[in-house]
Symmetry: C2
Subunit: 194 residues, 2 copies
């Protein structure tokens, strides 16, 4: 039976990410057969995640015959860092890290930050590109806290659950409010209906 379902590829080199999403596909009422594909994509420098994601998607369009999607995420310190590190979050994490962000916001009275996930999907039978965005707003913690999660999680305190950083939340708690969960839920809803 499952071989009759329409094929859809998650383009990622990260097996862990793929398995996480494969789980979501299993529990959702989605009639697509998900597969992983690690084709190399082109990542451009641009102002928004959406631009980066769409370019990345289109960079492999001629190499693939089914529906497929990519996921991109970023961390934005809107106040006082003008959105830094934004689309360059991965690079910044590996060079100056959480300690760097804390140095940059040190002695500012107030901060404002958000995480953002963008999923860009090329839907074959509709012949359309669709974009699903998820966002979570919060502030920067003055110190690193927590052991869960990864990346900038230890310094981000979401408005919806104040007093705790993302790295202090268990996976099921984080999944209630996270940017990623919001973006994935949107895409799954779309796929259930199409």
């Amino acid at each position: 039976m499952s071989n009759d379902r329409e094929l859809i590829y998650f383009i990622t080199g990260n097996k862990h990410k793929y398995l996480e999403i494969a789980n979501l596909f299993e529990t959702a009422k989605v009639s697509y057969q998900l597969k992983q594909n690690d084709l190399p994509t082109v990542e451009i420098q641009a102002d928004t995640l959406k631009e980066v994601a769409i370019y990345k998607l289109q960079s492999i369009q001629k190499n693939i015959r089914s529906s497929y999607f990519i996921e991109d995420a970023g961390f934005f310190v809107d106040v006082p860092l003008n959105g830094f590190p934004g689309v360059y979050s991965k690079y910044v994490l590996h060079t100056i890290g959480n300690e760097g962000i804390l140095r940059l916001i040190n002695d500012f009275d107030s901060t404002k930050a958000h995480f953002e996930t963008v999923i860009a999907l090329y839907h074959k039978s509709l012949d359309k590109i669709l974009v699903f965005e998820g966002r979570v707003e919060g502030v920067i913690s003055p110190t690193k806290k927590g052991d869960y999660g990864f990346g900038f999680d230890p310094i981000f305190v979401p408005n919806e659950l104040p007093y705790k950083t993302f790295a202090e939340l268990a996976t099921f708690e984080k999944n209630q409010i996270s940017h990623r969960a919001k973006a994935w839920n949107q895409m799954l809803k779309f796929l259930e209906e199409n």
Copy 2:
């Protein structure tokens, strides 16, 4: 007479940069006719300026029939920032700026930094891509100093002229030692010989 000279394009949207290089072409013994062209290029996320420059060059190869080149530059704080901001220098300058770099290196005893310029040239009659690199090594000044120049110049002290930042040097002084001057001199030398 000049119309017989082989055409070479400097791909840049910056008229000021173009005029500066046009001046160098005039004084050098280069038998090429230089023109500006502001075709949009694709700028990727990558680890090195060289990768970014070569991709940028190739991104317009099918749109242009003459020899042409592009120029890219970056500022790297090797110690203690692992090369940050590197290929993302422009973005970092516009978000966290020189003040951000100073906060990041604040209370470190020693720093090490360099500026780098890469020129990538597609030479039509040789049908080859050539890369010319210029570098200048130095340290970070604990405070911003000087009014000349632009970008990270006010916080960079070159090893060759210590005690002064790049922004405290007059243009003719900076041109003796700068990364840009080194890269351009290499390219002009190549063009004189080819």
